[in-house]
Subunit: 148 residues, 2 copies
DNA sequence: TGATATAGACAACCAAGTTGTCTAATCTGG
DNA sequence: CCAGATTAGACAACTTGGTTGTCTATATCA
């Protein structure tokens, strides 16, 4: 079947909820990662996550409400709102990584180390191929045009 | 990263669009499969796909609009609307399977037959584990309660 | 027969996206 | 140096797939 990753992400979400981050979804973690690795404002975040800047701004604002990031006007360019990950944001991220690690370990127990690595390699190939064209927003919902 | 299956499903969607089924999403195919393997009305479909009956009814009605299923009152129990997959519905499904087959073959070329099988086995384990508790609606959106 | 359960419809809502329009700030080029 | 273009971000309206909650019609059970 095809629900593999969904499964993983869902479990991580539930587990994170159990550990005191009840209102976090995969998207949020995803966004935090993008911010940590360089996206400093809404537009950049949008580009980094292949989403319109409006959607990114929305994600940011919920992240801000929940206390995971803070925003302040960029002194150098006053159009921009510079993003910073808060303490709580950082602990969410490390907790998230820990949870993932645990899930991965569990799976490794179930299935064997080699098998798991093999599987990861395959999946990497799969996403690697189209990482090239992570452009076009709306790959999952709207689009469907298939860029002829 | 973790977008492996998404990737696969998205590509299949795009490819199907290209082949004359432009308004089909993974959900729809998923629902058709559930119907084919026994779900005869909205409530059953909902149960089968771990979704409320209302959501299922909605999916059905778009599927009906697009001409993939038809509905008629069940003569034996006039509360029920019996579902039938139309000709077009069947061809969608086989086209869908063909596309998937092709994608799988492509991946097999890229990565080798054994590796692919191994990966599939791992993923099967992953989803298999929690197939047991495919109950609780809302695993992906609302929930988060983690059934304490 | 009457209480209860089930099927499905309808309405209101949510989350995460999308467009499209708009203002404010910055950049660029004549 | 200033006019025009570009960019950042906000706001509003809409879409999809899902959720409750309420309601009617039909079945079923005691």
């Amino acid at each position: 079947m095809l629900a593999g990753f969904r499964t993983l992400a869902d479990r991580a979400t539930v587990e994170l909820g159990r550990r005191g981050y009840p209102d976090v979804r995969p998207v949020h973690d995803f966004a935090l990662h993008a911010i940590r690795s360089g996206a400093q404002n809404a537009s950049e975040l949008g580009r980094a996550t292949s989403v319109t800047k409006q959607a990114a701004a929305r994600t940011i604002s919920t992240l801000e409400q929940r206390g995971y990031v803070s925003r302040q006007v960029d002194p150098a360019d006053r159009r921009k709102m510079r993003l910073m990950i808060t303490e709580r944001g950082h602990s969410l991220m490390s907790e998230g990584e820990a949870v993932f690690e645990e899930l991965r370990n569990q799976l490794e127990l179930d299935v064997g180390a080699e098998a798991l690595e093999q599987a990861e390699a395959v999946l990497r190939t799969l996403v690697g191929e189209n990482a090239v064209r992570l452009d076009s927003p709306g790959w999952s919902t709207g689009g469907l045009d298939g860029d002829e």
